[in-house]
Amino acid sequence: MIELQGVEKRYGNAPAVEDLTLTFPEGALCALLGPSGCGKTTTLRMINRLVEPSGGRVLLAGEDTRALRPEVLRRRIGYVIQHVGLFPHLTVAQNVATVPDLLGWDRQRTAARVDELLDLVGLDPGTYRDQRPAQLSGGQAQRVGVARALAADPPVLLMDEPFGALDPLAREWLQLAFRDIQRRLGTTVVMVTHDIDEALRLGDLVALMRGGRLVQFGSPDDLVLRPADPFVRQFLGEDAPLRQLAGQPLSAFVSPGDPAGLPVVDASLDAREALGVLLREGADALAVQDGGAPLGVVRWHDLRGSGRRP
């Protein structure tokens, strides 16, 4: 869906991104991960030409992005940034309507779309439509930011540390809500993050960058279990398997078995919490229940590897 072919960016003689070739597949959520200064934000901004590449090509659905005027290109690509950047003098509805307005949609269609999107991100349109950005909490503002980016139903969404400025509770809630929305809409997402947990938890694919170069591009399993070089392992940390388990519901690991005599846990736990219970109880397996009804058994070795992603 988005193809980078030998893309590079130089500032004077200093390379910010070098010889970057990778493909973000359609409908996938891809995380661009790496330490600060690794070129991940520059890479993101080259996709919608907020930064013009010094070399190479960027293809969007097979079309060279240089074939379009930058403004036209950007109206087809959703854009979400860390500090949201809502327009403070406009209402929530006017903010969400930005791209539809630029595209010249008629009033009724835009208004209906705004309400639909506010619903989608969990904000009651009747309550929030006419509020000003200053009246919103950080989490609400970023939800409006996501709604604004999705307003014209772009096939591609670029996000630069979208959850970075939120408190942990709001962040986790919004991450999961966003993941759900993304799956439902089938939007191709490229998300810059320096948060390893976020990359491993949300990403279908993770591109790890260092010093302007791609180090490894693969599924979270690939990076955690099959690191391409020592840097990948060191950057993700020795507890990377635990970080990865934290993002997955226990139900994905359940298999049939005899629950007799095993410690009982609820299916609402995530896989890391279940591992904690195993360690605490000194057990080799857990009986999993869903609201009291037996679901099956999770064994110690089931938690190794990927589980079945939901």
Binding site: R74, G85, T98, A149
Partner: protein, 234 residues
């Protein structure tokens, strides 16, 4: 209530322009004899207002585009230079400026307008630059990233956000210039400086006060009316 308060100064101004009112009030300063003028007070006030209004129009026409031009990305050095030069305008003494302008432009309105424009540019350009710089860079990044052209960003985001501070600068320039414009009478530009200058040369305090009181009331009236206008538009 607020709207009513804004009408207080204009009402006082109109009252003082009523034939005989102000000279009558000031008569005790001239030994009981009301000061007399060749030109009616309302006419002097209108000429004065005309001078100030013409200067404000020129100041806005020059200052706002200038502030816009130098706050575009990549023009930081030019922006700082412009801010400094605009600030210099007000440090030159009025009389020196007018004395220098007369040989080039002659007497009357042209040198006076030149002075008023140079003085008025300081708050308009200064506020304009400050207001445009204060626009949230994240909002600008979002605007660009969502596909607004530079012109659309300016019209939809930058100007609306900069407007209150920009209008305050225009208001300040206008009010200052009511005072500065009295000097124009020395160059034959007319206005409320005339009774002041005549009063000074005739040692007639009441005559000086006629000009001073009316200029002050005109300044306060414009301040109140312009303040009202910018509040309503927000």
């Amino acid at each position: 209530m607020r709207g009513l308060g804004a009408l207080l100064w204009p009402a006082l101004l109109v009252l003082c322009l009523w034939p005989g009112v102000l000279p009558g009030l000031l008569a005790p300063l001239a030994g009981g004899e009301p000061p007399t003028l060749d030109t009616p007070l309302w006419r002097l006030t209108l000429v004065h207002l005309g001078l100030v209004a013409a200067a404000t129009v020129v100041v806005v026409a020059l200052g706002v585009p200038l502030a816009l031009a130098v706050t575009r990305p990549g023009r930081d050095a030019l922006r700082d230079l412009t801010g400094a030069v605009a600030g210099l305008g007000q440090t030159v003494p009025t009389f020196a400026l007018l004395a220098l302008a007369v040989p080039a432009l002659g007497f009357g309105w042209p040198p006076t307008l030149l002075g008023l424009v140079l003085y008025g540019l300081t708050p308009v350009v200064g506020n304009g630059i400050a207001a445009l710089r204060a626009v949230d860079p994240d909002a600008l990044d979002a605007a660009r990233g969502m596909g607004m052209t530079p012109g659309q960003t300016l019209r939809r985001i930058e100007l609306p956000l900069a407007r209150p501070v920009l209008l305050a600068g225009i208001r300040t320039a206008t009010v200052y210039n009511v005072g500065t414009a009295t000097v124009g009478a020395a160059l034959g530009a007319g206005g409320l400086g005339e009774p002041i200058i005549n009063g000074l040369s005739q040692q007639n305090t009441a005559l000086v006060m006629v000009g001073a009181v009316l200029a002050a009331l005109l300044a306060l009236s414009l301040d109140a009316l312009l303040g009202q206008g910018s509040r309503q538009r927000q």
